[in-house]
Symmetry: C2
C-alpha cells in the first residue's frame, strides 16, 4: 500500500485526518512534487492554513487496492506466477479498500482518527469506515456519494467497460502499459469520456461549453469539433497516459457492487452502527450521485433518533465533479466541521 | 428514398399525416409483415381505430437520408466509383432530411399535409418542416425534441462515436455489413449502450432494474451481471444485427449540429416563420431533451403574440424513450389534436 501524509501527528495522535480518494484519484492528495504538472487532487482543500489545515492536522491519504499508483492492483506481480494478476485479480469491494487502510493505519500506530473525508468513491469509503469501524473516527464527511450505487451509475460504468473491451488492444488485460501509453488505447479513451457523462451535469455542460464550435473553417465535419467534443477527446486521450485499463474495470466494479447494507439485515441496521458524527455533503447539480440519495441516509438516521447526523446540499450546478473543482463552495464548511463549529 | 404508407388518401389529399422517425427508426412505423418479430415502431399509435386513425388519415413515413433502410446513406453505392460512399458520404443535416422528404412528397402529388408528427430526431424534423415550409402542414407535433441540441447530448453522441471508432473492425467504414452482423462489432454495441444513458432516465432505470443481480451463483463477477448490465448487453449486441455503424455516425452528427435557428438571424426569427398550429410535447422525465427546451420554444412564440402554439408536458418518469414505449400516455391527446379538439 502506498500513501502520503501531510502535517505532523501530535503526541496522542488525536489530529489524524483520513482522506479517501475517488475512482481515478491517488494517494497524492495535496502538495506538488518538482515534476508535477498539477498539485495533488485536493490541494485546494488540504495544506498549511487551508480548510484541512496541515499546521493543525496530520493528514493521510492511501492509494486504494485495485488502483494503479503503487498499492497492489491487477497489474501488480502475482508472486506465485511472476506475472501480473491481470483478470485473475479478485473482485474487490469498497469494504476491502477500507479494511486494508485500517490494517495499514494499525501498522502505523494509528488507532483513531479525528475525521475521515472523501468524495465519490472516497465518500463511499468514508461511509464504509463509519459503518464497519464505528469507534474509529469522531467525524465522518462523505461527499457526493450514496449508500448503494444506482442502476444509472452501473449503466454508465457498463458503457465505459464495454467501450474498453471493444478495443482488442486491451488484449484481455495482457497489454503492456508502457506500450499503450505510447500508442494510445482508444477503448480506454472512450471509457473515460463515458465517465464525464456523470462527472459534469447537462446544465454544467451548457454553462461550460454551450454549442461552441471550434473548427477553424466553420464547416461541419463528421468528426467534430464542438468544444465539448474537443474537451472529451483531450481528456479521453490523456487518460491513457496516467491510468490503467484493468484498474478501471476493477474500480468501476467495486463502485457498482457498493451497498452499505451488504451483510446486514437492512440499510437501517447498517446505519444504526454508526457512532461518528456524520456530515453528508451533496451538490445540488450532481447527476451521478443525486442529493436525494445522501438525504435518504440522513432521513433514516434521524428517524432512528440520531442527532449527530447532518445532510448539507451545496448549491452548485456543475455536477458531480464539483467536489473536485468547486472546493471553494465547501472549504469553509469543512473547516468549521473539523473545528467543531457545525 | 424508401417509405411506407397506411390508409388511403382522400380525394383532395387533405388527410395526409407525415410521420418522422427517430435516430434508429425506419419508415416501417406501423403494421406487421409476415416475418416481423415486432410491428412497426409506432404501431401503438398508428392504425385502424387508433389515435392516428388509418380509416380516416393517409399516413406516410419516409426513411431519412443517411439511414440504412433503403434510402441513400453512407453504405449506398456511389455511382461514380461503384463502391459504397463510406466516410466520403457528405455530412447531412435535419434540414436535408426534410427537404428530401418534401421533394418526394411533391413527386407523389402531395403538396400539403394535415399534420406532421415525430419524436426525438423525428421531432427535430417536424419542427424543421414547420420552419422551412410554413405553408406545408396545418398541424405540427414535435415530441421529445429541442430547438438546438445541447452539449449534453453532443457529449453522449461523442461517447457513442468514440466507442465505435475504438473498434478496429469498423475499419474506417469499410466493414462488410453481413460480416459484422455475423461476427458482431463490440464498438457498435458499446455505442448503442451509450445511447441508453439518454433513452432511459436515472429514475426510469431505478424503476425498471433497481439493483437486481442476475448471476446464478450470487457471487460477484468482474463482468456483471446486474439486470441493467444484462439489458445493455442484450440491446447492444442486438443492435449490430439491425443497424449500420456509418449511419450511427452520420445521424448522430445530424442531431448534434441541429439548430433550428441556423441560417436565420435569431431563434426568434426562425420561429416567427412558423404558420402551423404547433403542439410541443415533452415528457417530464426526459433527461435527454429536457422539457424546458421545448417549453422555451413555446415561451418565445407566445411572447411573439402567437396563439397557435401549445406546450404540453406529459407525466412520465421513464425518460426520453417514453415517446416510443408509453404511447398510451399521449395517444388520446394526439387523437384530439388531429380532430381539432385541443
Amino acid at each position: 500500500m502506498v500513501y502520503e501524509t501531510y502535517g505532523e501527528p501530535n503526541e496522542d495522535k488525536s489530529n489524524v485526518i483520513v482522506v479517501c480518494h475517488a475512482f481515478s484519484g491517488s494517494h497524492h492528495a495535496a502538495g506538488r512534487y518538482d515534476d508535477d504538472k498539477k498539485p495533488g487532487w485536493w490541494d485546494a482543500l488540504i495544506g498549511d492554513g487551508k480548510a484541512v489545515d496541515t499546521t493543525k492536522y496530520y493528514v493521510i491519504c492511501v492509494n486504494v487496492i485495485g488502483s494503479c499508483y503503487g498499492t497492489t492492483g491487477p497489474k501488480s506481480e502475482n508472486p506465485k506466477t511472476g506475472r501480473a494478476y491481470g483478470l485473475k485479480f479478485p473482485v474487490i469491494t469498497i469494504r476491502d479498500m477500507v479494511r486494508a487502510q485500517k490494517t495499514l493505519f494499525a501498522r502505523l500506530g494509528i488507532f483513531k482518527a479525528k475525521a475521515i473525508i472523501g468524495g465519490s468513491m472516497g465518500g463511499m469509503q468514508a461511509l464504509s469506515f463509519a459503518v464497519e469501524y464505528p469507534d474509529f473516527a469522531k467525524i465522518v464527511i462523505p461527499m457526493a456519494a450514496t449508500h448503494a450505487t444506482s442502476p444509472w451509475v452501473i449503466a454508465l460504468n457498463k458503457v465505459a467497460q464495454s467501450a474498453l473491451l471493444a478495443d482488442p488492444a486491451f488484449d484481455n488485460g495482457n497489454y503492456d502499459i508502457e506500450e499503450i501509453r505510447q500508442n494510445g488505447l482508444p477503448g480506454l479513451s472512450a471509457a473515460r469520456m463515458a465517465g464525464y457523462l456523470g462527472y459534469i451535469s447537462p446544465g454544467g455542460m451548457s454553462g461550460k461549453f454551450g454549442r461552441n464550435y471550434v473548427a477553424n473553417d466553420g464547416l461541419f465535419e463528421l468528426f467534430g469539433q464542438f468544444e465539448v467534443e474537443r474537451y472529451l477527446d483531450y481528456n479521453g486521450n490523456n487518460f491513457v497516459k496516467w491510468f490503467d485499463p484493468l484498474s478501471l474495470l476493477y474500480l468501476t466494479k467495486a463502485i457498482n457492487i457498493f451497498d452499505i447494507s451488504y451483510g446486514y439485515d437492512t440499510l437501517e441496521d447498517a446505519l444504526a452502527r454508526i457512532e461518528s458524527s456524520l456530515y453528508l455533503l451533496s451538490f445540488k447539480g450532481d447527476t451521478m450521485f443525486f442529493p436525494s440519495e445522501m438525504q435518504n441516509i440522513a432521513k433514516i438516521m434521524q428517524k432512528q433518533g440520531r442527532e449527530n447526523v447532518s445532510y448539507i446540499c451545496i448549491d452548485s450546478d456543475y455536477g458531480h465533479d464539483a467536489f473536485l473543482v468547486e472546493v471553494e463552495k465547501f472549504a469553509d464548511l469543512v473547516a468549521d466541521i473539523l473545528e467543531g463549529k457545525v
